[in-house]
């Protein structure tokens, strides 16, 4: 005790280690050797690999390497468990989820300590953030299980879900995957990341303890090969993946030829925007939570600082001063801010990218840090003098590295913020209400945190725009990833073959061009395809090609920002006017339908006008809402348009089908490049004149005719297209495969019955959810 006197002089912090005794005892009780958890029992491990503590390199346990056979076995037991689990009343499933929440809560410190030992993140985070969020997620979804029977009319569970999660938030990502899947009646095969399997295995033990029916949750450990086998397995109905954009694209391609539902939560380079009127000290503290949280190994880390030029130096000085106070070291010490990077490979990647940044001209600031021996540590780093063209401004570093740039005006801030392939999250710091909401509306990202950062809650959906992936996790919006709509389909009747005309053409020759940017354009190719008409003569369809697609996307891209920003009321007025003008041209359309042998032209025409009115009605009514997470904040949800959407219409019904697939996209504020069926384009072509007469702004609704290979494939692969809907009759595999380039959302639901009342699934698909967190308080 004699050193109390010395400490009193220096008043340093000393150490405050969290005990690891109980976690070690748990590992020992398992002989530090783990099999898979399949069908409610543990397999005996054959081939294994080591998992170790990245803070000191000490091996913690041997983990089974999952083989194709293990994966098959797990999928089969999940498949076998599915009928009973999905048919169980939601209130019964809720009891299991509730029990899981309670169990994790009752063993919360064991989970926290084990997670810290396996991952290297500070105990403060696992104890105060990760595990409490996990518990909250299961409680919240226990509630959704209860409501699942009544709240989701027209939807049903998906089936067996293959879930692959990363190493940065092992338990949190596990619960984001498992809780909604189970709540909605699905069964699960989950593969944790190879670096961090231990808490998933502890979780499996809890599933066992509460008597979760065998096969409902299966945990198969292993590396990327195990994941690949899970993705490839034909018994899996859905893949949910969180991880790198690169792997996400592989999975997109690997599942292209299958009907597997897919959700991807991928990388980011999220902007952190600080305006000159912000509370700068709080913005600096926010950065600690943004980029120096979890060693910066956070997909939504605020890694790209955008500062208003007027305050840049002042803010940088405050950041540097704050960085000096960050404590890097033993993750099990309660006063550690930054723990160990998960693995040597990640450490090498981080230091390599920082070196590259410095070589490219960045100024580096790193406070002096002393690291414990034998671990993977990297100091907090600030890179200034970085520009958008710098590598470190574009690439996701996934480490405690902040890159900083300046902006001059709010619109420049938005431009810089959106100058990225990603769109996961963003932070906006300002005391001005107008600035906050205006910037929040313009940023292309699934989450915007106003005067805050890295806030999460089970009631609020989280997920990306652009190449940060698609699908949401959390909230009502997240549940749809684990539901499928019951859309009535019809067997495609063979199109009546019109092989020859009833008579020869009379009257004037008619020309149908492409419709691009509000103008009728001749096809680049100079070719036409000839289709005979019932009433006489033939129809020459412009044979569009990749250049026409390029031009149409260009036009749509120019139009989409203002179309998205216009009011829903304005969009609805335009659609009502469209209906009016179509009605006025009734005879022309009934003839055009009859000309390609529609079965009941008059009925189809009437339904078509009704369909326009339907979406005119929806245009100003498909609204967001306000989430109520357990903090003092409004979290408002904006269903935002996707941007430029490609849409390929079914062959029949020619007019109703074309309108049914184009209208929801247009009504929700997307600009479209439509491709009418090559077999039956006439009604769509006749519609061009109606569009022209109805004040549809130039570029909002484009039309390109042509073949699958020459038009649809280039459209599907265009990196400026955010979504592709395909209702054609050809195999969509090449389209989905080529959509992986920019991870555009694809929807190929097969042959739908368009005569029925449209499902709101169309509107849901035509939008993406942005959640804006606005903490308040004066």
């Amino acid at each position: 005790m004699s050193n109390v006197s010395d400490i009193l002089n220096e008043l340093d912090y000393g150490t405050a280690p969290e005990a690891d005794k109980i976690a070690i005892e748990w590992l020992e009780s398992k002989s530090r050797r783990f099999g898979h958890f399949i069908g409610g029992t543990w397999t005996s491990p054959e081939e294994t690999f080591a998992t170790s503590n990245p803070a000191n390199g000490v091996e913690l346990a041997q983990i089974a390497q999952g083989t194709e056979k293990d994966v098959s076995q797990a999928v089969e037991t999940a498949r076998a468990a599915y009928p009973q689990w999905s048919a169980m009343p939601g209130s019964h499933r809720a009891r299991y989820l509730y029990a899981i929440a309670r169990q994790i809560q009752k063993h919360s410190r064991l989970f926290a300590v084990l997670e810290t030992m396996d991952n290297g993140k500070p105990i403060r985070e696992t104890r105060d953030l990760d595990i409490p969020l996990v518990v909250r997620h299961f409680y919240h979804h226990a509630g959704w299980a209860n409501l699942s029977d009544s709240e989701f009319d027209g939807y049903e569970s998906v089936g067996v879900c293959g879930q692959i999660i990363p190493w940065n938030f092992p338990m949190l990502m596990l619960c984001w995957k498992i809780a909604p899947a189970l709540a909605m009646g699905n069964t699960v095969v989950l593969k944790p990341a190879e670096f961090t399997s231990l808490t998933a295995l502890l979780f499996a033990e809890i599933c066992e303890r509460i008597g979760l029916p065998a096969g409902v949750v299966n945990i198969v450990t292993g590396d990327g090969e195990t994941g690949k086998a899970l993705v490839a397995h034909s018994g899996v109905d859905k893949i949910a993946f969180t991880g790198s954009t690169e792997v996400g694209k592989h999975i997109r391609r690997a599942t292209a030829s299958t009907a597997k539902k897919l959700s991807l939560e991928l990388g980011g380079k999220s902007p952190y925007i600080v305006f000159e009127d912000a509370d700068l000290d709080s913005a600096v503290e926010g950065l600690v939570d943004a980029i120096w949280f979890n060693q910066g190994e956070v997909c939504c880390a605020g890694s790209r600082l955008l500062v208003q030029e007027s305050i840049a130096e002042k803010l940088y000085a405050k950041i540097r001063a704050r960085m000096i106070n960050l404590r890097v070291g033993d993750p099990l010490d309660k006063a550690t801010d930054i723990g160990a990077v998960v693995d040597e490979t990640q450490l090498t990647r981080i230091s390599g990218l920082v070196e590259q940044g410095v070589q490219e001209g960045a100024e580096i600031f790193q406070p002096k840090c002393e690291f414990p021996a034998g671990g993977c540590f990297y100091p907090p780093t600030l890179l200034t003098n970085v520009e958008p063209a710098s590598t470190v401004a574009q690439v996701e570093i996934f480490g405690p590295v902040l890159v900083a740039m300046t902006f001059r005006t709010p619109s420049e801030a938005v431009t810089l913020a959106n100058n990225t392939i990603y769109g996961l999250a963003s932070s906006v710091w300002t005391q001005n209400l107008d600035t906050a909401h205006d910037i929040a509306a313009q940023i292309k990202a699934g989450t915007v945190w106003v005067n805050s950062t890295n806030l999460f809650d089970a009631s609020v959906g989280f997920g990306g725009y652009r190449e940060s992936g698609f699908g949401r996790e959390g909230g009502r919006e997240g549940l749809f990833e684990y539901l499928k709509p019951s859309l009535p389909s019809v067997e495609p009747e063979p199109l009546p073959q019109v092989t020859e005309s009833a008579g020869s053409a009379t009257g004037l020759d008619r020309t149908h061009k492409l419709y691009i940017g509000g103008k009728q354009a001749r096809p680049d190719s100079g070719y036409s395809t000839v289709l005979p008409l019932v009433s006489g003569g033939s129809l020459e369809i412009a044979r569009g090609n990749r250049k026409d697609v390029r031009n149409a996307v260009e036009a749509a891209d120019s139009a989409c920002a203002s179309w998205a920003a216009t009011t829903g009321f304005n969009r609805s007025q335009i659609l009502y006017y469209l209906a009016e003008n179509l009605e006025a041209a009734r005879d022309v359309f009934i003839k055009s339908l009859a000309d390609r042998a529609a079965k009941n032209p008059e009925n189809e025409f009437n339904l078509s006008v009704e369909r326009i009115l339907w979406y005119a009605a929806w245009a100003d009514k498909y609204e967001g809402g306000v989430h109520h997470p357990p903090v003092r904040a409004h979290v408002y949800t904006r269903p935002e348009p996707l941007g430029v959407a490609g849409v390929v219409s079914p062959a029949a019904p020619g007019l109703l089908g074309y309108l049914s697939v184009c209208l929801p996209l247009v009504a929700m504020g997307n600009a479209i490049v439509s491709v009418p069926s090559a077999h039956n384009p006439l009604p769509a072509l006749e519609l061009v004149r109606i569009l022209e007469a109805s004040d549809v702004p130039a570029g909002v609704w484009n039309l390109v005719t042509g073949s699958f290979d020459e038009v649809t494939v280039p459209l599907a692969s265009h990196d400026g297209v955010a979504a592709l809907w395909y209702f054609g009759e050809d195999d969509a595999t090449p389209l989905i495969d080529s959509s992986a380039g920019n991870l555009k959302q694809t929807w190929c639901p097969g042959n739908l019955d368009f005569a029925v009342k449209p499902s709101t699934e169309f509107l849901r698909r035509a939008t993406q959810v942005k959640n804006v967190w606005v903490p308040y308080g004066v």
Binding site: M1, N3, V4, L11, Y13, G286, N451, A633
Partner: protein
């Protein structure tokens, strides 16, 4: 107080004052998470608690104060921890940062504490409301200084802040500072009555510009007294003022700090937001009356390994 150069103040810089803005939610988040980010254990905790004692302005501000309980307080200030405990801790003599009383008892305290080096602080200027005639408030300061007070805890006129009349606040504070002469002046902002955290930030700046040596949260008589969010806002302004002028201004949270854990939270906040200089009595004080008894129990627990009881420690 052993500051080498006292705060000289600056002209009233309204642009600076008005540029100070505070986001309440972000401040509350920082304040809520800070105690979870840092902790001190075992010998370090004992040492930090001793430091907390050295920073206490041991206070009695009751209507029924009389010479006897003020004397008791002074003796406790000189002997805040049982000697056997200090011996076990291997620590020599320690004493509190000051005693703090009404003007009436300044002379008594000066006599009781003579030779100890413990400064006597007097609350002043119509404490706690500060609404007595201005001349009388100045006279009160001078009377306490004449009686030997080393420190004067003044209260500001809250309405100057609520009306954003920064010039009036500045002039008032400047006059108080002049009246104090060599005695150091602590400006009590009464943060619980200022309406917003932004007001707290701006009032902090104005008082420092007008020459305050310390800024202090509360009188202890407001409905809400010292809180970590108030402390965070004020310490950030102290940091800002230091960066701009080079002057180190002290901070004193007062009112509602009753537990050893709370005193550690404030010491941690001082270190994280301002640095080790601000963990010493010349720049940090805790205004408290019952805090000491909880710290004593914690220290005894550290020494014996057993939980202690109040009756084992002398009252003050």
């Amino acid at each position: 107080m052993n500051q080498e150069v006292r705060n000289l103040g600056t002209p009233l810089d309204l642009e600076w004052v008005e540029s100070a803005v505070v986001n309440r939610s972000a401040v509350e988040r920082r304040a809520a998470t800070l105690p979870g980010r840092r902790t001190v254990k075992k010998a370090h905790q004992a040492a930090w608690l001793l430091r907390a004692i050295q920073c206490i302005d041991l206070t009695t501000l009751s209507g029924d104060d009389s010479p006897s309980n003020v004397h008791r307080l002074c003796v406790k200030a000189m002997n805040p921890v049982r000697k056997d405990l200090l011996e076990s801790l291997g620590v020599g003599h320690i004493q509190t940062g000051a005693v703090c009383v009404y003007h009436q008892y300044v002379a008594d305290c000066v006599r009781h504490l003579s030779g100890s080096g413990i400064p006597v602080a007097a609350v002043s200027t119509g404490f706690p409301a500060g609404l007595s005639p201005f001349a009388q408030r100045l006279a009160e300061i001078k009377a306490s200084v004449e009686d030997g007070a080393n420190e004067i805890d003044i209260v500001i006129t809250r309405s100057h802040v609520l009306r954003s009349d920064w010039k009036a606040l500045f002039d008032e504070m400047k006059a108080f500072r002049e009246a104090c002469g060599e005695a150091h002046v602590k400006a009590i902002l009464a943060t619980g009555e200022l309406g917003t955290l932004t007001n707290v930030a701006r009032a902090s700046l104005v008082c420092m510009m007008a020459g305050a040596d310390f800024i202090k949260t509360s009188t202890g008589k407001e409905p809400i007294n010292a809180t970590l969010p108030f402390a965070l806002v004020m310490t950030r302004m102290i940091r800002e003022y230091h960066a701009q002028t080079g002057h180190q201004i002290g901070f004193k949270p007062a009112g509602g700090i009753r537990t050893a854990k709370q005193s550690l939270d404030y010491l941690i906040l001082m270190r994280e937001e301002l640095g080790p200089d601000w963990q010493k009595p010349h720049l940090f004080r805790i205004g408290a009356s019952t805090l000491l008894s909880d710290i004593e129990r914690q220290l005894e627990h550290f020494v014996t390994g057993r939980y202690s009881a109040l009756n084992r420690h002398a009252i003050g």
